[in-house]
Amino acid sequence: MPIVLIVAEQQPDGNLRKASLNAITAGKQLADKAGAELHIAILGKDPAKVAEELKGTGAKAVHVGAAAELEHYLAETYAPALAALATELKADFVGMASTAQGKDLMPRLAARLKAAMATDITGLGGSGADIIFHRPMWAGNVFAEVKLNTPVKVFTVRATEFTAAAGGQGAAEVKTFAPKIEASKTKFVEFKEVKSARPELTEARVVISGGRGTKGDFKEIEALADDLGAAVGASRAVCDAGWVPNDLQVGQTGKVVAPALYIAAGISGAIQHLAGMKSSKTIVAINKDAEAPIFQVADYGIVADLFKVLPELRSELQKLK
């Protein structure tokens, strides 16, 4: 029986990266189409706790590889370990969420497996041996259907296009394996985490993003975000200026979000920004310029100064409580 192997990710704080659950759903859809069995792999210094969490997500087996050398993620140590596992399992497909780690690791693993790869898949088609991957190109202006003609096929998954796999779907067999460790020419030096008390951008139900129109003053955006329990996002212009941390950037080259409500304040709506938020359920645009392209994708637009609109919006919403 063909095998789909999904690689789950442990965050530096030891917890499961939630996007892994969306990748598992993609893996399940793929397994159904290909008539395959779903397996999950997790690597780390001590991934046992995460493995426990993955047990009930509907896979046949969870493969746990623990080693001290895997404490800090590096493509050069993770790729050989996973390649050896994939080869031993005779995996036909290997996939992972399109997180920073997924994007760094999967192509290196694919190169080792002499496999072709599809990045950021948004859907699946075909059946049996003829699986078709759907993926965005040109900042989401185009969606392509691609076929990978190598024995092993590798992919990363755009988390917002698949629901998160729930727990309680039976119990997978947990199998430990001794990961193949190779010396690395790269060494981990440090990780500077950007801590935020707000929800993670890619998981929040509401996202409020600011653009250059804020001139770097995010106070009103943050206050509204806190009222709504929302995440804060930004356009590239704002990150480039150093006004907010890089990892708040939404777009083609930043995070892809799809919340129930996306509020864009002082953002013009360049195609590269739209690429990261166009799948949001409801979009609100606040912009002084009635011609700003953001209004072409917004469900509700308001042509006004964001410094006037945001406080008003806060007090109107307070009234509802």
Partner: protein, 265 residues
């Protein structure tokens, strides 16, 4: 230091991309082409590194003869020489990385700098494939701590730091929830993120000088690489259009719509 930098030819990011009605490709008419923005950042970083540590920047592009335009652009920015791998027709990551591997083995650079992704195919793969093929370390999504408007940026200091013994580079990487720093033994592969630097403009003297700089021509056959694609693009389509929204006159109406129509607050 010898730095090999790639320069892919892509559609201008400002272009409106339209899919042909039969889904076989995009409408080429009226499109302008540029060097991939991430690759331009790579050329800039290479130039800053050799300005500080001496050496040369060699740029490479794979494609038909039109890619010489992008090579000339990089030369006008200040790159020293160029390598053109002449190939028309589709190429996938395995083919591109295979060709770049051969070029790197010929040139023996200390560092290969690529874009983290190209803005047409958005694959984000070639640098990592190349690092594995060469057996080198990789530092993808290279970024820096300062803003693009900082004093450091204006001083044109490279963000990729050579260690004191000159045997490795320290690179700050943009990752989820923060910045990770890694140290890569040379030779290594680095891929650029947007905030690594602000590329310089090509000066008029630079453009004049670029005309006489050498472009070496190579071919896949000459390099001994089979580039027959393993990826088949079956069909392209436009994303479903969002239905046109409305403009509301005031905040009270907005809140009413959000509450009673969209039901999101």
């Amino acid at each position: 230091m010898k730095i090999l930098v790639t320069a892919k030819r892509v559609e201008d990011p400002e272009s409106k991309i339209k899919v042909k009605p039969d889904g076989s490709g995009i409408v080429q008419e009226g499109l302008k082409y540029k060097i991939n923005p991430f690759d331009e950042i790579g050329v800039e970083e290479g130039l800053r590194l050799v300005a500080k540590h001496q050496g040369e920047v060699v740029v490479v592009s794979i494609g038909g003869k039109e890619v010489q335009e992008q090579l000339r652009h990089a030369l006008a920015m200040g790159a020293h020489r160029a390598v053109w791998v002449n190939h028309t027709g589709p190429l996938d990551q395995l083919g591109i990385a295979g060709l770049l591997q051969k070029v790197a083995e010929k040139e023996k650079p200390d560092l290969v700098v690529l874009g983290k992704q190209s803005i047409d195919d958005d694959q984000n793969q070639v640098g990592q494939y190349l690092a594995e093929f060469l057996g080198w370390g990789q530092a993808t999504f290279a970024s820096k701590v300062e803003s693009l408007e900082s004093a450091e940026e204006k001083n044109k200091e490279p963000a990729v730091k050579l260690t004191a013994d000159k045997k490795a580079v320290q690179v700050v990487r943009e990752v989820d929830n923060g910045l990770a720093t890694v140290e890569c033994q040379l030779p290594a592969v680095v891929t650029t993120d947007l905030r690594l630097n602000q590329p310089r403009y090509a000066s008029l003297p630079g453009i004049m000088k670029a005309k006489s700089k050498p472009i070496e021509e190579l071919t896949p056959a000459g390099l001994g690489v089979d580039v027959a694609p393993k990826i088949q693009v079956l069909k392209l389509a436009s994303p479903p259009a969002r239905k046109a929204g409305i403009k509301v006159p005031d905040v009270a109406t907005l809140v009413d719509k959000l509450r009673n129509e969209a039901k999101v607050v």
